[in-house]
Symmetry: C2
Subunit: 230 residues, 2 copies
DNA sequence: GGCGAATCGTCGCTTCGGCGACGATTCTTC
DNA sequence: GAAGAATCGTCGCCGAAGCGACGATTCGCC
């Protein structure tokens, strides 16, 4: 089973942010309509694989897609995206092979934009190209900022922040501690220790696959206290 | 004096790669000519400052520009770019304030592209917009890959790689160990220890502000041995 | 040639976090 | 409700690296 190793680097997905960064308007989509067609993928099948020639980019319409890069020993999950996400565009525009593999984890419907049709189309619709450009730069900036924030911060601080991020409107985080550790690129034990500290500080309560936020301000204090400020 | 703190995060510049990522053809520049004009800046003066409204992007023609982000206590140098670099474009396209400050460290000549003129122009010249898009995505990909390579690698490995990167054609690296440490986001002592190891292994020789590569293969072995392979 | 500044080489201490281990809970499924 | 799997809480050990300190070496400048 490779899921253990597979999941181990899920934190990269967090680092690089969501890839659903291309807000296309209905008109845009209409214009793009002639550049490709819808495709359906069963769970477990690939939209494209790392190293393949990039012949198309995809806009995810429904379902979850996992992006990962293969390494000799492990697969690094670099993203997990849902409806709205655009994938494969980097390689497509670079004219290079795909950088990562994209695998459907649920039944997926995606719009396939073929390079041969997309490029001329963007030339005819510069507004879409511009929007694409803006989206790409946004992501670049977000990635840089995320890296800055990630470095030189202790797991303790990262855990506090992650909880704030993931808490639902009831202040609950429904994740196992192992999952949390994966999201942070850390280990279960270290995360557990951080949680213990937070629990003793009265900021949270922990349970089986649940973390309950008790004192939101305390958590925020931990984060902002040491954040590179912004 | 703030230079010490200022320089301390020079390694970010390495992480985020060179910002000179926009290869414009002469024709492109000609077309862009109508969107702005040349400006000259004396050393120490700013092209723009973090937080200012982004009114223009700049293409550096001559001189070195330092990009940094201000924090309550320190300035993080996120890039140091020379001729060919494009700066300020992210904020410009986002329509948001500048993300970082840009300061001339030498006499700088730059071409100033004003937003009000640039945007319509790109709409008229989609090819340029496309090239810009490609360049942005390239950098995004490079940043992601760099982050992957940086994480989970020891200073020892990073030092070996940095030496290979910075060695001139005589196999010499003319940098103080303090500078090396800054480039890696590490400390002088730790770097020194790594160098000692490499010296004992017969891979390099060290001197005053000089490192001489003796056994290139040995260095490469250190790097590739542990690199996430690619 | 000499002096101060910069740089190098090295210790030792400390913190952070990865890793293995083990028992105690909680859930799931039949 | 009982067995087995998943999850949690906690130790202890160890390596990596930050930080301060101090003497030795080298350089630039007068």
């Amino acid at each position: 089973m490779d899921t253990a190793e597979h999941q181990h680097f899920a934190w990269l997905a967090r680092s690089f942010g969501r890839t659903d960064y291309l807000p296309l308007t209905p008109e845009d989509l209409e214009a793009l309509g002639e550049a490709g067609q819808y495709v359906d993928k069963y769970p477990g099948t690939h939209l494209f694989k790392e190293g393949d020639d990039s012949v198309a980019a995809y806009v995810v319409k429904a379902g979850e897609v996992e992006l990962y890069r293969s390494r000799p020993e492990v697969d690094l999950v670099v993203g997990r995206v849902g409806p709205g996400a655009v994938i494969g565009d980097i390689a497509l525009f670079q004219g290079a092979p795909y950088i990562s593999s994209a695998k459907a984890v649920e039944p997926v419907t995606a719009f396939q934009l073929e390079r041969s049709k997309l490029l001329p189309l963007l030339t005819r619709h510069p507004v879409i190209a511009m929007r694409w450009l803006v989206a790409g730069l946004n992501q670049l900036e977000a990635t840089q900022r995320h890296v800055i924030r990630l470095m030189h911060r202790t797991v303790f601080e990262q855990v506090a922040e992650l909880i704030l991020d993931e808490a639902d409107r009831f202040g609950e985080v429904r994740l196992s501690q192992t999952s949390l550790a994966n999201l942070l690129g850390s280990t279960r034990q270290t995360v557990n220790q951080a949680l213990s500290q937070l629990r003793e500080a009265g900021a949270i309560q922990t349970g089986y696959r649940v973390i309950q936020v008790v004192d939101r301000d305390a958590l925020e204090a931990v984060v902002t206290d040491t954040v590179p400020a912004r």
